[in-house]
Symmetry: C2
Subunit: 178 residues, 2 copies
DNA sequence: AGCATCTAGTAGGACTTCAGAGTAAATCCC
DNA sequence: GGGATTTACTCTGAAGTCCTACTAGATGCT
């Protein structure tokens, strides 16, 4: 989105005011939390994509490359990639199409399962993802825009939400301090 | 996305392990925070869209209708709507096209500015957004999946991030009770 | 007045996401 | 062994986001 002036008033605080005015106090905090997440994601995604732009990568394509580059052989069945990235199988098909077009990955036949297709990162793909990761670490992840004192709280709250939403099974969590 | 089994392990915790293994400790927490936001947004959006499905609305269309329904005349110039919803003007064009197609909004000429177009919510649009809001309040916002004790923290952290990102100007904030 | 510039909105295109439907291979079960 | 079911992937299509480029109207400067 085009760069814009800051709004004179936080639009989410404004929405909360409206919610309360209409007598929906019980839902106001939930609405505010969800709106805040939506907007934060939009801002963070924009930062990430800006950092990836020079490599010709989108976040979706970066994530798949990164996942592949972390595996032993640089290869995964499409379905495994979908599961790990938590996206629809057709999204993976689409992402791999573009990575293939750009020479960053290719499809190989699965050695034993005739139904399955392996996505394999190419040499060029490895190069690109290495550079892109370095850039992201320097320019975005290393300074995400949230004080480090608050990062832990944020991550903990969101992890609880994700777990309760059925994202992943209960972990062998360390005994919680507190 | 299709309903899936919970993953055996939190994929974000897994990514953090990888980051540390590769010696990127400085960026690990930021990466985790950003990944957590992305995934949480995906889950929350899915819940919201599921609740809106029976009204034939997406979140984008709902938000625009809601914004219009809160104005005095149920009308706004396209540009104002874009600014308030913090989306690209072409996204608003697209959203209004669909609302118009479904008879929930229409375009009117701006009374004084020949360049501008007003989006106006129709009677049917008002009906639908009222019902949809009620449903969202009951099924999603009223129980967002985060303990109410943590909602405040979450919202405060994200508001800080949004403000520092230039989302809105410094508010006349109330003296913080810690 | 008249030219330059800015602003509002749209058209077209790239990319991402999901859903439904279809094909091919593997597995289950009698 | 052979049919029924499940699994893996792709195709097509709808929806959303953004970007670039364009048109028309408003504004500003000389």
């Amino acid at each position: 989105m085009a760069r814009r002036e800051p709004l004179p008033m936080d639009p989410i605080a404004e929405a909360k005011r409206q919610w309360i005015e209409h007598g929906w106090e019980d839902a106001a905090d939930g609405m505010v939390a969800i709106a805040s997440i939506m907007r934060t994601q939009q801002l963070m995604l924009a930062r990430v994509e800006a950092a990836l732009k020079e490599f010709g990568l989108s976040f979706a394509r970066y994530e798949l490359l990164r996942l592949l580059s972390f595996t032993r052989d640089g290869a995964l069945p499409m379905a495994s990639a979908s599961a790990r990235l938590q996206v629809h199988p057709t999204s993976t098909t689409n992402t791999v199409d573009r990575l293939e077009r750009d020479g960053l990955a290719r499809r190989d036949a699965h050695p034993t399962d005739g139904r399955a297709t392996l996505v394999v990162v190419t040499e060029r793909g490895r190069d690109v993802v290495t550079q892109a990761t370095q850039r992201l670490n320097e320019h975005v992840f290393g300074d995400p825009g949230i004080p480090s004192g608050e990062l832990g709280q944020l991550v903990r709250i969101l992890a609880g939400f994700r777990r309760r939403s059925g994202d992943f099974a209960d972990p062998p969590s360390p005994p919680e301090p507190l």
